[in-house]
C-alpha cells in the first residue's frame, strides 16, 4: 500500500515536467542569459567599465532572469498545460525540501571543491568550465534521483559532463569557454524541452469544450 501511494505521489510530482516547458523556457532561457553574460564579460574584459558592471550585476541578472522565466512558465502553463491535462498547485515550502536543497547544495559545493583541487594540478585544463560541467551534471543527477525520475535528465547531465570536458581542453579564453558551455547547454535544454512539448501536445489535444470557448 505504501509503495503504491508513493508511486502515485511521485507521478503527481513529475507532472510539472510533463510538458517540457520548464526545460524549454527555464533551462534554455537562464543558460542563454549566462552564455551571453560570460561571452560579453570576456569580450569587454574584466577590467573594463562594462566588465565591472557585469560582474557587479551578476546577482541581479540571475535573480531577474529567474523571476522572468518563472512568470513566463506560469503564463505558458496556464495557456498550454492546464486546459489540456489540468491544474496543480504544489506546496511552496516544505521543511524536508529545504533540508534536501541544503544537503544538495552542500554536497555539490564539497564535490566541486574536491574536483577543483584535483583538476588544478593540470595546467592545460580550464578548471572553471570543467567544474561547471560537473556541477551542472551533479545538480541534474540529484534532481533526477530525488524528484523528477525522468531519463532525459540523465541525458542532459551527460551532455554537461562531455561539454565541460571538451571545452576544458579547447584552449579558448575562460569567458568564451563558459559562454560556449552555457550556450550549448541552453540549446540542449531547449531541444529536450521542445521535443517533450511536441510529444505532449500530440498526446494531449485541447478538449473540445475548451476549444469552443
Amino acid at each position: 500500500m505504501k509503495n503504491e501511494s508513493t508511486q502515485v505521489q511521485q507521478r503527481v510530482m513529475r507532472y510539472w515536467y510533463i510538458d517540457g516547458l520548464g526545460e524549454l523556457v527555464g533551462g534554455g532561457g537562464v543558460f542563454f542569459v549566462l552564455a551571453l553574460y560570460f561571452s560579453a564579460q570576456q569580450y569587454f574584459g574584466e577590467d573594463s567599465l562594462v566588465g565591472g558592471l557585469l560582474q557587479a550585476g551578476l546577482f541581479l541578472i540571475l535573480v531577474g532572469s529567474f523571476v522572468f522565466v518563472r512568470r513566463l512558465i506560469a503564463s505558458l502553463k496556464m495557456r498550454v498545460t492546464y486546459p489540456r491535462t489540468g491544474y496543480v498547485e504544489y506546496r511552496a515550502s516544505r521543511q524536508n525540501r529545504i533540508l534536501m536543497g541544503a544537503l544538495a547544495a552542500l554536497s555539490a559545493a564539497a564535490m566541486s571543491g574536491v574536483i577543483v583541487l584535483i583538476v588544478r594540478s593540470f595546467d592545460a585544463i580550464d578548471t572553471m568550465v570543467a567544474m561547471t560541467g560537473i556541477l551542472v551534471a551533479v545538480i541534474l543527477l540529484v534532481k533526477q534521483v530525488w524528484s523528477t525520475r525522468m531519463p532525459r535528465f540523465y541525458f542532459l547531465g551527460a551532455i554537461s559532463l562531455i561539454l565541460g570536458g571538451i571545452l576544458s581542453v579547447s584552449g579558448f579564453a575562460r569567458g568564451y569557454n563558459l559562454g560556449l558551455f552555457y550556450g550549448f547547454m541552453s540549446i540542449a535544454f531547449a531541444v529536450s524541452g521542445g521535443i517533450t512539448l511536441k510529444n505532449y501536445l500530440r498526446e494531449n489535444p485541447l478538449p473540445a469544450e475548451v476549444e469552443n470557448d
Binding site: M1, K2, V12, G86, A92
Partner: protein, 102 residues
C-alpha cells in the same frame, strides 16, 4: 471477530473506497488540484469523480472551490486538515493491519 479483523472494520470508509483513496492520495501530495487533473490521474468519468468528491466533501475531507486562473475556469480541490489527518490515520491503520496479518 479477531482483533486483526476488528482493526480492518475500524477503517475510515470514506477513504477506504479505492477511487476515493486515490483521490485523497493525489491531493495529499499537492496544495490543490483541479477537477480535470484528478479525473485524468484517477482515470474516472466526470460523474464518478463528482460523486466521490461530493462524498469526501460531505465527510469534511475535501474543500471544493470554483475559481478562475486568468480566464480559465477551474474547479479546484484541496485536502482539508481533517482530511490530511484522516489519511495519515488510515495509512497507519493499514500498515499496522498488514504487519499483523503478514
Amino acid at each position: 471477530m479477531t482483533k486483526d479483523l476488528r482493526g480492518l472494520a475500524d477503517l475510515d470508509r470514506a477513504i477506504h473506497e479505492p477511487a476515493r483513496l486515490l483521490i485523497v492520495t493525489i491531493l495529499s501530495t499537492v496544495e490543490s488540484a483541479d477537477f480535470l487533473f484528478l479525473q485524468r490521474e484517477a482515470g474516472l468519468t466526470k460523474g464518478n469523480l463528482s460523486a466521490h468528491l461530493t462524498k469526501l466533501e460531505e465527510a469534511g475531507y475535501v474543500e471544493i472551490k470554483k475559481t478562475f486562473k486568468g480566464k480559465l475556469p477551474l474547479t479546484v480541490c484541496k485536502l482539508t486538515k481533517s482530511g490530511s489527518k484522516a489519511f495519515a490515520q488510515y495509512r497507519q491503520q493499514m500498515v499496522k493491519f498488514m504487519s499483523t496479518t503478514g
